[in-house]
Point group: C2
Chain length 241, copies 2
């Protein structure tokens, strides 16, 4: 499905989908030769997850952390979201009652205390927020995410950018000029925020295919990207010696 189809189906804007792609929240599984985004059924299910979280007031950054965490449990998430939505419904009902009372009040039929006038508004009083915080709170992240989180926003941005760029190259041979140029950028970037010898760089590339937490995270940007990067990084490292 192309971008507008998706947008119309779920009732959001094309821009929103672009935005979610930009920030790495929802990257379409495929693109046409001319660069059009093509969303798979799996993409749609991820989008549904995102929208449930969004409805519950989670910031996009948090949603990204949660659903891309290797230990993310979809079933469990759905259960908690269910509880939270029911709670939201309760608050909405309270608010409706408040509004109904206010109508009577404004006709002079009943009296209302100041407190009563605002029942149902207290947005932060969801008892399941606690459960959500325990599950998805700031501490519940794995090592990989720790690293990402410790990066500055600029670095995060750059990080995404490079991955997306590399994803467009992933079908080229790993030793092609363009691929190697992309990998070089990646190497230079990594050495701005850390310290990687060519060997370490090569080793990192190995992890991309050996550790499935990495594989999954990287292949979000394009299927087979991790393998491509592993190969290209190995070649690049060898040429640096």
């Amino acid at each position: 499905m192309k971008v507008k189809e998706v947008a119309d189906l779920v009732g959001i804007s094309v821009r929103t989908l672009h935005h979610y792609d930009e920030i790495g929240l929802l990257i379409p599984d495929d693109t046409t030769g001319s660069g059009y985004r093509v969303y798979s059924d799996e993409n749609l299910e991820t989008l549904q997850q995102i929208l449930f979280f969004r409805e519950l007031g989670f910031p996009l950054k948090k949603i990204k952390e949660i659903i891309h965490n290797p230990s993310f449990d979809r079933q469990e998430a759905l259960e908690i979201q269910h509880k939270m939505l029911l709670e939201k419904k309760n608050r909405l009902n309270k608010m409706i009652r408040t509004l109904e009372k206010t109508i009577q009040y404004s006709k002079g039929e009943i009296k209302m205390s100041n407190k009563e006038k605002f029942e149902g508004f207290d947005f932060s009083q969801n008892p399941y927020e606690q459960e959500a915080r325990e599950k998805w709170g700031d501490k519940a992240v794995d090592e990989a995410n720790e690293k990402v989180k410790s990066m500055s926003d600029f670095e995060q941005q750059k990080f995404n950018e490079i991955y997306r760029k590399l994803a467009t190259l992933r079908h080229l041979p790993a030793d092609s000029k363009e691929a190697q140029e992309g990998i070089k950028e990646w190497y230079l970037f990594l050495n701005k925020i850390g310290n990687y010898s060519p060997e370490a760089f090569k080793g990192l590339g190995q992890m991309y295919v050996n550790d499935e937490r990495f594989t999954k995270n990287i292949d979000r940007f394009g299927e087979g990207l991790s393998k491509f990067m592993c190969e290209a990084m190995s070649i690049y490292a060898d040429n640096q010696k």
Copy 2:
């Protein structure tokens, strides 16, 4: 009631109340000698109105237009809001059903079409939005608001600023030096966006007390401001001849 009391009562932040004051959406009826905001019961009811609109997704700018419109009918607003909240409840229920189906679906118990996966999300499908648009749409504004709307954002901003400044002076004698300086600023500002002779300026001041739509709109910034301005403008105009 002072600002934190209100914030705690309704479950919003102090900053939010400051913001609403800044943009002229909810200006406290009174201030203490030291400049502390003091909210009246009427302020609280306006705030309640604001929050109902906000819950329904109205932008603050729109809310401001609506509730400060001289022809604003509180009763009617409450009725429409009631319908819209019930509709929102319906959507929420749909969404909960969708979530429940998704739980079964993710367990492989049932099948789900792509369309079904997003039922309840289509935020813009509120049948009462139409009614709201007719009531409070962009065309349904009176003369006074037409003028305000035709101003640039910068001018709007400046407009508010001057009114708020004048409001702090309103208990001084209209012929005092400070009052006259404030009014001068007002005169100069008006002549940047239009063309006002001293006579026209004086006439405008008269309207502030004679036309209750003006009176109401101006006194939002402080009780008695319209009368004060009328007097001060008259004096200023006479001194210009």
